[in-house]
Symmetry: C2
Amino acid sequence: MENKVFFLVPVSAVLALFFAWYFFHQMKKESEGTISMQKIAKYVREGAMAYLKQQYKVVGIVFLIITIIFSFMAYYLKIQNPWVPFAFLTGGFFSGLAGFIGMRTATYASARTANAAQQSLNAGLRLAFRSGAVMGLVVVGLGLLDISIWFYVLQFVIGALDNATNLTIASDSSMKLIIITTTTLTFGMGASTQALFARVGGGIFTKAADVGADLVGKVEENIPEDDPRNPATIADNVGDNVGDVAGMGADLYESYCGSILSTAALGAVAFAAKGTAVQFNGVIAPMIIAAVGIILSIIGIFMVKSKEDASQKQLLSSLSRGINFSAIFIAIFSFLILKYLNIPNYLGIWGSMLAGLFGGVAIGKITEYFTSAGFKPTQRISESSKTGPATVIIAGIGTGMISTAFPVLVVGISIILSYLFASGFDFSNISMGLYGIAISAVGMLSTLGITLASDAYGPIADNAGGNAEMSGLAPEVRRRTDALDALGNTTAATGKGFAIGSAALTALALMASYLEEIKIAIARIPEKTELFFNAMQTDIHQASIPQLIEYFQINLMNPRVLVGAFIGAMAAFLFCGLTMNAVGRAAQNMVQEVRRQFREIAGIMEGKAEPDYARCVAISTKGAQKEMLLPSLLAIIIPILTGVIFGVSGVMGLLLGSVSTGFILAIFMANSGGAWDNAKKYIEEGNLGGKGSENHKAAVVGDTVGDPFKDTSGPSLNILIKLMSMVSIVMAGLTVAWSLL
Amino acid sequence: MENKVFFLVPVSAVLALFFAWYFFHQMKKESEGTISMQKIAKYVREGAMAYLKQQYKVVGIVFLIITIIFSFMAYYLKIQNPWVPFAFLTGGFFSGLAGFIGMRTATYASARTANAAQQSLNAGLRLAFRSGAVMGLVVVGLGLLDISIWFYVLQFVIGALDNATNLTIASDSSMKLIIITTTTLTFGMGASTQALFARVGGGIFTKAADVGADLVGKVEENIPEDDPRNPATIADNVGDNVGDVAGMGADLYESYCGSILSTAALGAVAFAAKGTAVQFNGVIAPMIIAAVGIILSIIGIFMVKSKEDASQKQLLSSLSRGINFSAIFIAIFSFLILKYLNIPNYLGIWGSMLAGLFGGVAIGKITEYFTSAGFKPTQRISESSKTGPATVIIAGIGTGMISTAFPVLVVGISIILSYLFASGFDFSNISMGLYGIAISAVGMLSTLGITLASDAYGPIADNAGGNAEMSGLAPEVRRRTDALDALGNTTAATGKGFAIGSAALTALALMASYLEEIKIAIARIPEKTELFFNAMQTDIHQASIPQLIEYFQINLMNPRVLVGAFIGAMAAFLFCGLTMNAVGRAAQNMVQEVRRQFREIAGIMEGKAEPDYARCVAISTKGAQKEMLLPSLLAIIIPILTGVIFGVSGVMGLLLGSVSTGFILAIFMANSGGAWDNAKKYIEEGNLGGKGSENHKAAVVGDTVGDPFKDTSGPSLNILIKLMSMVSIVMAGLTVAWSLL
């Protein structure tokens, strides 16, 4: 270890896991309420676990196949680093574990939150928020743990093993860290792969159940949400857990690790010429920032508490206090960290981080403006319900599309500023500029421990409400859990802004890492090394980014780049289309089943007979498992095929196309969906005729369409764009060895 | 003139205009039917003319302002060619004229078609098709006329005038044709600007009227389409004329000229080193192909006739015969033309043309598969109506998004093949490769005379049906006009495939033209010329594309390129969002007005009182004029701002982002909209419960949402992506002189 301060990384990871364990046990000590509440919680928990078991079985098979392919490439073809298969596996494993623990916690917490909410809003908040914090801390804890383990291990073994695969590190001692950091990116690919399956599968499950439950329950039978007479209601609650909790956990585990790993990889390159001590510090800088972010998050979580008789406004300010504390202090501490690590141009790099941080906050505010019923855009969607569902849909799509303009401008400014700050306002200082872009994403996600807590407690409150409704608790309890859910929405918007903004920045950083991996891949193959030398008169180890750009013609007049960009943009649309249709099909099956139960089970409407909840859970499970495979596998296959056919320049075009279009499509879908949801809620609050009016029915159609927008297709896109980059990086050897054009 | 064969271009243009005049007078000679039919036709005609007058007033003001700006740039700042303001004006004028004549013909033809359809299907077909041919021939005739006039004029004057603006042509005699051809691109910008206004304004008008008429008429009052009791019904028919006819005419005028002009501009560059004779031939090749295409189109139009007692199938084959004849013979003739002109590698370039032609046909077939009720995707959308409007919307959006994958692959293959064929399979032969991409678009559009005829006669038949309905003709007549409309759909799909495919290819070609214009702009400014020479050790006139790429860092690791790509992709979404919302708002006003009339005008439902048709026309007109400005102006402002802030590399990123995302978004919106339309028609044919069932109501919601998708936002995107390129080209001087980063 070049710098002892690295110990902070594993220590803070263990600290996070310890507090997660502590909060979990605190929560478990609380009462789960009446027999009926326990029973319902058990149904949901069992449904969720059954789903996850099935999900992990399928994903396990996929991982097995990919690992075999990687091993073949590494040990037989020798176009791949020998650590890749193992790193890939651990990434997937930890991502799955983070989702599993978060979900298990949520399913234990929902009845307890409902029970606490009987007492007071404040009690409910504390229980739900601390349970959400379990997931926040597990995600960051497992993330940094995995990163530090691999970083330690590879330090010792990378040289010895790599000699066996013909790679000459000898010529340049800075090469070792470059290889270590690009290898750890493979573990990012494992995390992204498992996250995509979790998001897509969970998203299909939850929305099939939700849409199915709403279409028959609310629209046809006129019974309220979460009514125990609705056969799909347990499935709907299970869905919140497997989609919004387990899916979100895996998703953000992937984002968190991805941002740190891509920054580390670019740091290894940017500081390669400055000596190994500086290079080492540049690599660990994002990790140290994340480690300090964990400690600040834990303090922030403890700050979220308020007096017993606190008003809703006080609760919100208590929540914001914790989050703002962590954000402000990480901004200050990261300056000290960068200065202490003696990073060249630490002031500029700190500026890059701040550019990212401000960008994330701005995107959150923009999201809030376009999706909250407190502002004009969503109110206008509500008003368009006066002319029926068609105009609600048109207005929602129109507004969602318009809303993409502002986050794009914000991210554009963040990209340019973080590049310019880090590069010392010199466009030709490419490596430093790209490091700046990468670290700006780290800034956004460094306090994920607490921002994710404020995001994850929403579904817990939601489930608590469902439990209260089904157990027949006083309406007051439901109102409180609804208030809790709404309370988190403002803070959650910021968290989502960070998640989406960091995805775009990390994906761009990964494009640069891809070029580095291409260098390594060329170095691995003697003929390619020679070809490169003959063309460019430079040894591949010394090749600069402009030389790689020239050699592979990675410019906008190369038809392979153009076609790649088209395919990348198309991949985002294709992926959304497949997941939308998947939800549509699964929801239709659910509707048929719910209608059948209402028709065939006598006494169900009178509450005398119990519906067959398990059957609905099984239908959603089956639908999700069947439908998640194609879109998820496409994300892996498209970059491989593009690489094999169009070569390096085609892949670069592909990544640019998928990042730009994917980012915009993700915002469009999230914001349209969010706005429809709140436009409906606005009417339910008594505006424009209120619940049960024709306007309300029109708004419900919008909300239903928005469900897969905001909870299936939209959030999966964040993972998609990074997974495609990761796959390209890991498959770089294949592209270099075999590409056709 | 270096080659006398150029005379073919103006001659065929005049020939096209002559036959357009001939068909128009033939049509005018027919009877317009009963007094009632004449009255309705007059209402529609007057409404359409009133709209166009208002539209051209607004567009005229916009053109005036832009012309003043261009004149300032050309004569005062001297960063612009002095011919630019004039060329810009003629492009706009001829585009508007083409739309005007086409629309005027259509409004005269509709009642006559209805009258002829009383006699037989065949008589109706011939009248409607020949009237559609008027527009087809006017578009290509005016297009080639404008091109030949400017080409002649600039030959004589460009040298003298340009000396006055410090531009040294002397150093390289091939420079003259390069300047001429890039100047003529300005006239393409005029055409694109007017086309965008026509498409957006017309699209908002027609869909506001359509959605408004349907929502109240069909859904609330349960009266059929085109019922004279519906106050919006005249506005709806006016809309078909101003949107589908005038808008389409202006649109395809722009596509036609754009493809020829961009190919000519790239030809001037690609063959610059081969001597002026070869260069001249390379420039006129696309024009000669288009000229021969006109002659073949005229012959093809005359081939569309059939026996008096022909079956529907025979009529279709008669229609296809004409189109296939023109397509096959242009494929053969273009080989002879390229060979006769002695173009270097004429065989390869011919291959590029064929790649484009096949690509266009394939996109047409794909469109048909995804949008026709004869195939699974649309049938599945119909079936999703069983679970209500929400699942219809989800299925339509999902299917539309999935459908983008195949056209993207087809265009990708066309791009790569046309590049490889023309460049002799050498990726570094950039100029020739790009010429190949450009000419592949010319291949698609060369027989526009007849393909547009088969597209434009649809709205005429549609209007004839409206006239028949309102005049109370026998239901048999309506059935015949519906059959005529349906008949054209298959052939029109191919036409649309050509339009959308050529838009993508032309836009890519324009990216290359942009770089050429940048060279000229640098040459115009002595300090910039010196800067370039100092950096690259090459005179700007001799600069190659790779040198420009290196100088401006037009590569994928330049943050300006990345941000540009994000902005370009976003521009397409923003534009769609604005036009969607515009239709939504205008339609809501229309709904309120129609409801008011039903409520306040006594006896309207009994057919005793006449509704106030004019008021509905006025509402659509006002809505369209107010709403079209912002999205259209954004298309002009975004590239200018991007250039001024991010410089040349930012603009190149912008264009790539807008072309790739715009192309895909256009296909998504067109196919979702088309599929919803046909899913509804499938139910109306008696499937799934038929007209009036709950399923039908759900499908009508889908169709209504699809209206602005397929007729406002979607088709405008084709123009948008080219207009943004054209604006960038014309504003190149500004970017070079002033860019910030």
